[in-house]
């Protein structure tokens, strides 16, 4: 897959393990490579120049986003929030080198668990438990004053416990809902303690969830319920969320 695009300059030096292109996300490309020693895997998040954007605007945005993501990530780590650790960064070269998070995006795991089921989703304890863990992870992040800005089920990883704790595949198993939620992709995150910003964060997730997993919408309330218990202002955020929902553009005004 890495053959489709030229590698970023940082990955062009000879290396014992070839870098692998993992995904082409919206922002840029994610490579799996190693950091310092050949057995420490890491993720290289590369934001290539976007040729369709005006070069001045492009450079301004890339620099701003790399730096802000690095700052927010280290702040989260300092506060004990489970996000990838920062190994290195280069805002002019457009890359950020991060801890490798094993596992799969929550979106993939939810879809595997849903399969083509049309009923019984409301009683699925495994999925509901996953929802509660998502709510807790977001609450913990909000509690330390960070809002994500782009919460979706693609921007969370479900990372299985390390090998020595449980015996299982290091990458997690298909359909397995066990593991730890690791929030990733904080490129649009910012520091904020405002109830409003936190409510918008939840609203973005709620909307993305409804459009990505329409059949699982019925268990989304579990996320909010778990969020409610995570920090002191959480109930106020949920109250605000109702206002934010009402303001959505061109909502039907019935009732």
């Amino acid at each position: 897959m890495s053959g489709d695009f030229p590698l970023p300059p940082i990955l062009q030096t000879p290396c014992s393990s070839e870098p692998v292109l993992i995904t082409q996300g919206a922002e840029g490309r994610l490579y799996k490579t190693t950091y310092l020693t050949p057995n420490l895997p890491c993720a290289l998040k590369y934001r290539p120049p976007k040729p369709w954007r005006h070069p001045t605007l492009d450079a301004r945005l890339t620099k701003h986003r790399i730096l802000s993501e690095a700052r927010i990530l280290s702040r989260c780590r300092r506060e004990g929030i489970r996000v990838p650790g920062v190994y290195a960064s280069d805002e002019v070269g457009g890359w950020l080198m991060l801890e490798w998070v094993p596992g799969a995006p929550v979106r993939v795991r939810i879809n595997e668990a849903l399969g083509d089921r049309q009923s019984g989703i409301e009683e699925d304890e495994g999925l509901k438990d996953l929802m509660r863990r998502i709510g807790k992870a977001i609450g913990d992040m909000h509690a330390v004053g960070v809002v994500h800005g782009d919460l979706t089920t693609s921007n969370m990883m479900l990372s299985p416990k390390p090998l020595n704790e449980v015996d299982g595949e290091p990458e997690g198993q298909k359909g397995c809902l066990e593991g730890e939620i690791v929030i990733i992709d904080l490129g649009l995150a910012s520091g904020s303690l405002l109830i409003e910003d936190r409510a918008v964060d939840l609203y973005v997730l709620e909307r993305a969830f409804g459009s990505t997993h329409p059949r699982a919408e019925c268990i989304f309330d579990q996320v909010l319920e778990a969020y409610n218990g995570t920090f002191k202002q959480a109930p106020a955020v949920l109250k605000k969320l109702e206002d934010v929902r009402m303001r959505g553009r061109k909502r039907s005004m019935i009732g």
């Binding site: 369709w52 649009l188 061109k250």
Partner: protein, 343 residues
């Protein structure tokens, strides 16, 4: 004998364009556009179109335009199976004036009515004209800015503007600069932007898959006020505004594409006819190994044919709007429509 072809008359008037079109579908899924007429209400430079005047414009031109559309289509009243009209979203007064006219035709000619969601009309027309099968749709016009993808019988909104539509931002900036509204303010901004080359600083407001334009408009207006001593021209301002807001639109579209795993983009709506936007989107889609689908002004800009088309698709699945349910609404979400005609 089973019916093998259907004809619909579509009436659109949610904003300043009055559009009437006649379309034919056959049972082998051929779509023929028999006529597609439009009459636009153009307000003087420095002003926008007010609901009252726009509604009066639509009322004045409707009968003539409807007759011409039928004549050009070469079909008689008896050939028409259904009257389709825009039920929302849009401006209240213009919507109602066209709905009244559609109801009149329905009672006069004894034809069933089908109310159509304006956004769904744009999407279905774009899909049919371009042949894009299951694209991520960027719907950008004077009243709407949404990123949409289809899933499980609905067009789901992944991202949208949090305040004003991108077309509204451009139109209002055209008013600030007193640019002509003929043929469209956005078109004239596009022509000026081609001559601009200084990129000024404007806010860049993307929140996940959503974006916001009102702050950009305010900043652009503020820059325009300092133009005399600023050393830049109206052309530079138009260039800056376009580069900034289109970069935002391409970014949210790209994010939605990555999220749903699609590499096709379809651009619909009036702003979609902007060639700079199409070019930027094309470069982005190519890099993702996909392509962009766009239509020209006949189908991008509001028209009656798209209403006829989407209405006929619904009609053929058995959908009807009873006379008592034909009131229109300014707020009508794209995802409220149950899309029975797709798998």
């Amino acid at each position: 004998m089973a019916k093998d072809s259907w004809i619909a008359l579509g009436c659109e008037g949610s904003a300043n364009k009055l559009g009437i079109g006649v379309i034919r579908h056959t049972s082998s899924n051929e779509t023929t556009i028999l006529s597609n007429l439009r009459h636009t209400f153009v307000s003087p430079p420095g002003t926008g179109f007010l609901p009252k005047d726009t509604a009066a414009h639509h009322r004045a031109h409707f009968p003539q335009l409807a007759l011409r559309a039928l004549k050009e289509a070469g079909c008689s009243i008896a050939d028409v199976d259904v009257i389709c009209f825009t039920q929302g979203p849009g401006m209240g007064a213009p919507l109602s004036s066209v709905a009244v006219a559609a109801r009149t035709l329905s009672l006069l000619w004894d034809k069933p009515l089908v109310g159509v969601n304006h956004c769904v009309g744009h999407i279905e027309m774009g899909r049919t004209i371009t042949g894009a099968d299951n694209p991520v749709v960027l719907y950008v016009s004077g009243g709407n800015s949404q990123v949409i993808a289809y899933a499980e019988q609905r067009y789901r909104i992944f991202g949208e503007t949090l305040d004003i539509a991108v077309g509204n931002c451009l139109d209002r900036f055209a008013r600030t600069l007193k640019i002509s509204n003929d043929p469209a303010p956005g078109y004239n901004i596009e022509q000026l932007a081609k001559k601009g080359n200084i990129l000024l600083d404007l806010p860049y407001t993307v929140k996940g898959m959503d974006c916001s334009f009102s702050g950009i408009l305010a900043s652009a207006d503020a820059l325009a006020a300092t133009m005399d001593k600023g050393g830049f021209t109206p052309e530079d301002l138009c260039f800056t505004l376009q580069e900034t807001v289109f970069a935002m639109l391409v970014e949210i579209t790209e994010r939605a594409m990555a999220h749903v795993g699609s590499n096709q983009v379809l651009i619909v709506g009036g702003v979609g006819s902007n060639e700079r936007l199409q070019q930027m989107m094309g470069e982005m889609a190519r890099e993702r190994g996909g392509s962009v689908f766009a239509t020209d002004e006949r189908f991008c800009i509001d028209n009656g044919i798209m209403i006829a088309h989407a209405g006929l698709l619904a009609y053929r699945t058995g959908y009807r709007t009873e006379l008592k349910d034909t009131m229109c609404t300014q707020r009508f979400r794209t995802d409220e429509v149950f899309v029975k005609w797709r798998d």
